[in-house]
Structures are given as C-alpha cells and as structure tokens.
Symmetry: C2
Subunit: 370 residues, 2 copies
C-alpha cells in the first residue's frame, strides 16, 4: 500500500509551512490556532453534553468492499453524527439544530477561525440546547466506501465513482464573499480574513454530489432528531440551507422554526399544499452583504440569485398566510457580512438577531416543554 503514497502526493505540490509566508499572508499563517483561542470570562455551565447518532442503514458488503482487512459482513451507513450541549436551566427552551454547508462539517459552528466563540456555544449561553450534526457522508458521519474499493479492485468502472468536492482557497474569497478576488478583502468585510488559512483547514472532501442517496438521508435524520427532541428549530447553512424546509415537510409538527442561513437556493417548485404546510411554520432566511460578487463557481454565478429565490419563496409563504421573513443585516446598516456569517467578526450581533426572532416567533408561540 505504501508504494501508492508517492504517486498520490506527486500529483500535488506540497508547500511546507515555512513557505507559506511567501504567499503574502505574513505571520497570521504561522500562528498556531490554539494560541488564538479566546476563553470567555464566565464559565459555561452545562446540564449535559455528548454525542449520538440518528438514523443509519445496515448494509451487507463483501470483503473487497470493506477494504480487504477483514471478512465481508454488515456495516451501518447513512447515519448522522450529532454533538450536543444542554445549558443548565435551559432544558425547557427550544433546542436549535445547526447544519453545515458543502465541503464543511459541524466545525463551522464551533470556535471561529480566529479563535472567537462559535454560535454553538453562544446559543447555549443564551439558554438553548444546541445540536450540531455532521451531514450524512461527511466528517464523523462517514460515507459508503464500497464503490471506491470496487473500482480499486477493477470490479467496477472508474466512471461509477462519485466525485469528491473541495473549494480552492482562491475561489473561497469571491464565493464566500470575503472580497471580489483572493487575498483582496472588501474594506468593510466582516470575515476575519487574517485567519482565512484556518478556514481552509475546515475544508473536507464532500461526496454529496453523487455519493449520498437521494433524497439526502440528512433530511430524514433532521426530522427524526427534531422529533426525538419534541420539537426544535432547524437551522441550515449554504448547501444545507434549504434542508430545514425538506425536514419540515417530512414532519411539520416537530419543526418549531426554520432558519435558512445563506441557502444555496430556495425551492421554486413546491406544490400549493407544501406551501400551506410551510406557511404554518415560522421561517427566517438570513443573507449577508456583497451578494452581487461573481462567485467563480459555474453553477451559482452570484449569491444574489439565491437571495432572490428565497425572496420568491417568502412571497409565496406570505401569500398563503405565513410569517416568513428575510433577515438582511445590510438593510439595517450592518454591512460587510460574508457567506460564513456565523464566523464573521460580528457573528454574535447576527446571532442576537436570530435569537430575538426565535424568542418572538418560536418560543412565545408556545413550544412544547419537555
């Protein structure tokens, strides 16, 4: 096996850490992430924390499909890993589930690239139990490896392989709207651009463009999680931005509120019946600034198009009697927010706006107390 490593690496140009300064980012690249982590002044008091799984399918696979180290048999795939924190005294408050976007994991919601508090901890400190999954196919949720081993053994053609997506550091700048091009931030950018290399480390290969079943098992897992929690606010981001809608349609009774943070798009093909179901639920869509930036990604020329698709959905929901709304901080004079709004320098200011909405639209509406 080891003989394959050089050929794998030879396809890529390994830049050692010492060479990073040459890329013009100075000492921030050399900063060790741990030393930048800032602890809060007040302790975090948890009733409980831990992790568990939701869903999963048991499949039978051959020895080859399992990588030839041991015999064939059954494994579980399509399960969803969830980490959670419940604040002391917050057991009765509505839980919030935070789902990450493409090429990312639940890490998105944790400590920011420059070491500040993530939304996971902030929402807990504001009294909400918080549940952070890794999407099925990513991170600690794993993926189905069988096809890769079959191709390796030449028992399946290479064309059956799903692709693995990652975004280059360069395309992240316009696509996540830190600036119009790499290493050239907008003057008012809220993203902590000196720590952009720490964001690069959050990237993992994403097999969901072909390597995850359709419909995506994460939809059902989110719905089941909300059910197990006796109701929850479902929050998605980017790739998963519209997942709360899909999960709510599976079981609207447990979807207490839907928060769509910078969704890649809002569906335009819902039936009138689906619109009626969703109109009964509180829906908040959140978009940052600089949405006209050309992304550099072919499938989505600009995030303004995503914004407009969500404006259209909000219009349909409102016409059906719903209370869907857009949170567009730029309209309130809060400028420069990026696609990674939960990591922006003013991330807690944005969180406060969402928390206020949850309080007004979800909590006061009378969520089931456990």
């Amino acid at each position: 096996m080891r003989s394959q490593r050089p050929s794998m690496l030879s396809r890529s140009f390994v830049v050692i850490v010492a060479a990073l300064t040459a890329r013009g980012t100075g000492s921030s690249v050399l900063a060790q992430a741990l030393k930048d982590v800032q602890a809060s002044d007040a302790p975090l008091v948890l009733k409980a924390q831990g992790s568990f799984f939701v869903g999963g399918d048991v499949v039978e696979q051959t020895q080859r499909e399992l990588g030839d180290l041991g015999p064939g048999g059954h494994i579980t795939v399509n399960q969803m890993y969830v980490r959670y924190m419940v604040p002391q005294g917050g057991e009765g408050n509505v839980p919030v589930v935070m789902v990450h976007g493409a090429t990312l994991t639940g890490k998105s919601w944790e400590t920011t690239p420059d070491g500040r508090m993530g939304w996971d901890e902030y929402f807990v400190r504001k009294g909400h139990p918080v549940y952070v999954p890794d999407q099925v196919g990513r991170g600690r949720s794993g993926f189905n490896q069988a096809v890769f081993n079959n191709v390796r053994a030449e028992s399946a053609p290479a064309a059956t392989l799903p692709r693995w997506i990652r975004f280059s550091d360069e395309v992240v700048w316009p696509n996540f709207r830190f600036g119009s091009k790499a290493r050239d931030p907008y003057a008012d950018s809220q993203f902590p651009v000196t720590a952009v290399d720490e964001l690069s480390k959050q990237g993992v290969p994403d097999v969901s463009f072909g390597g995850v079943p359709t419909p995506n098992p994460t939809h059902k897992a989110l719905s089941d999680l909300a059910s197990q929690l006796n109701g929850a606010v479902l929050m998605g981001h980017s790739q998963s931005g519209a997942f709360p809608l899909a999960a709510a349609l599976l079981n609207p009774a447990v979807a207490k509120g839907l928060v769509l943070v910078e969704p890649g798009g809002c569906p335009s093909n819902y039936t009138d019946e689906q619109i009626k179901t969703l109109a009964a639920l509180p829906v908040l869509v959140v978009f940052g600034d600089h949405r006209d930036t050309p992304t550099g990604i072919g499938i989505r020329p600009s995030w303004q198009l995503s914004f407009e698709s969500c404006q259209a959905l909000i219009g349909r929901l409102k016409a059906a009697g719903g209370q869907a709304e857009m949170l567009n901080p730029a309209e309130r004079g809060i400028r420069g927010n990026s696609h990674m709004i939960m990591q922006d320098k003013n991330n807690l200011q944005i969180a406060d706006l969402i928390l206020k909405w949850i309080d007004e639209r979800v909590s006061r509406r009378g969520v089931e107390k456990k």
Copy 2:
C-alpha cells in the same frame, strides 16, 4: 451524477430498520440513541470549550482533483481537528489528549453506545483539560481526495487508489473481544452488547492504510499539540495506541505521560537511544481481557500478541531505568474488559485507575503549570 447512486447501492443489500429485529437483537436495535443518553446529576462547569486545528500542508490541485465544481487552486490537507473542554479550576492540571483507533473517530471517547458518560467528559470532571482529535485522514480532519478524482477521470489507474477500511459488525465481536463470535457475548463481557448497533454507527471509512503520508502526520500533530499545551498526557487507542511513543520521540520534553490503550502493537525496533529517551517518560499500557480470542483479522491473529509486544517494550524500558508499567485489570480481578475499554460498562472504573496513575506518575512529578 445521480444516475450513479443506484449502481452504488445495488452492490449492497440495504436492510431497513424494521428488518433489524430479525437479526436477533430485539428492541435495543430500535432504540433511538438520544433517548438512551443519560445526563449526570451534577452540571459540567467549563472554563472553556471549542475546537481548532493543528498542522496542515497547503497543496496546489487541479480543477479535476478538486471535483470540478470550481477552479483549481490551493487547499489544506493533513490538518488535525481537535475538540477540547477545559474544566473550571482545572487550567493548571495536566491536559490529556485522547486519540482514536482504526475505522473510528474522536467519537470513541464521547458518550458510550448505550448513552453513558465518555472518558472525555469524565476526565474533565476529574479536573483535566481534555483534547480529542480526529486522526489526519478521518472525520473532521478530512483527507486528500485528489487521487480519487483523478481515477474517476481516468487520468490515473484504479490501482493507484488507496483502500478504505471498515470492519464488519460480525468481525467486530471477536476482534474487539465482546465474544468469540458475532452476537454471542462472553458471560462476563463488560461491553454494553445490547447497544452494539450504536457502535456500528461509529464506524467510518479509514484511508490510513495507504492514503495518509508516511510518517503519519498525526504523530507530528500530536507532538505539536502537546507543545502548544506546554505539556500533555498523550493517550492512544488500538491503531493509534503506539502514536504517543512516536510523538514523544519527536519532542520528549512536552510528552508528560504516555498512555497506550490496547495498542495494535508496541514497536520492537527502537534503538537504544530511543529507548533511553522513552525510559525518561512515564508510560502506561492498558489491556483488557479475553486476549486469546481469535480476531478473525488476518494481520493480527490475537490481541495477546499485541499484549506480549508491549510487555517486551516495557521490559526494555525498565531495563533502561524507566518506570513503564502494564495495567491489566484482569490481574486485579476486574474481568471481561473488551478492546473498546473506554466504552465498557465499567469504563469509569478503568478511567479511575488511569487517573490515579496520572496523578502519581505525571502530576506529582511536577508538570509545568501554565
């Protein structure tokens, strides 16, 4: 892309949840993991919690290698994700770093399959800052996907693919020593076998047999993490059981104690100089019971062989003046511990033995206070 999914799934027989009862495991399989989670009576009071990365190499990849969604450019690979919790008042105590084994992630140390407290939280409650990484190539640390996309595009031969390893549920029973064969637990088994299907969900594909650079970047990342912490106890398990030794040899000054939990093996080829270095450090090896069980895995006929290789290393370290020791609970009348000893029903009893060793051999030895 979607047209590939059926062919991917057709290679596996999907067993729906309702059919699981037919596998003879009864209602435990149908149990939802969340409802089994048991909260502690006392709150967990943290000075800090969060996550960060250690290490990482910036590489340049083509559009194809990045999955063709966006243009080519740089990404980071070989970084190590770390989640941490620091107990209020425990900042001055020696931190403990817990590394997981093959086909697993940092989840190993979190909530047990049957919903009890994991070692991550227990060690925090006992006053130690705890750091839980995902090995490079796994979970939230990601892996280098370039070769897979090159093979998919037929610009590289299938034989260049590294294999992805998972263990079948059936082979886990003898390999992890829950019983001599699947679904037939030892009478004294300490593993919570009614929740073995929840353990199955912890499995993720493992590319470290060929898809991670040599030497494994996790060694250096662990050493760097210990350095950033101004000293730490490094604890490995199974595949990573010997990683603390490798990390210590890179920077012995910051490796305050090495805990090898059920290592796959202890190296027999250390030079006298390496032995001298390691003999200056507190080393504890931990092995459970039923080590003679035939594993069903060709490369390791029994864990007794691993045990003996570590006994041999302990012998060399002692002969060089070291204080290495074996913790073999069975010798103390604590029977039935499995390979997944941190998840066993008596996991906190075993943790207490390790904590006592840390207190006596590491903390009282005078660790640097931060």
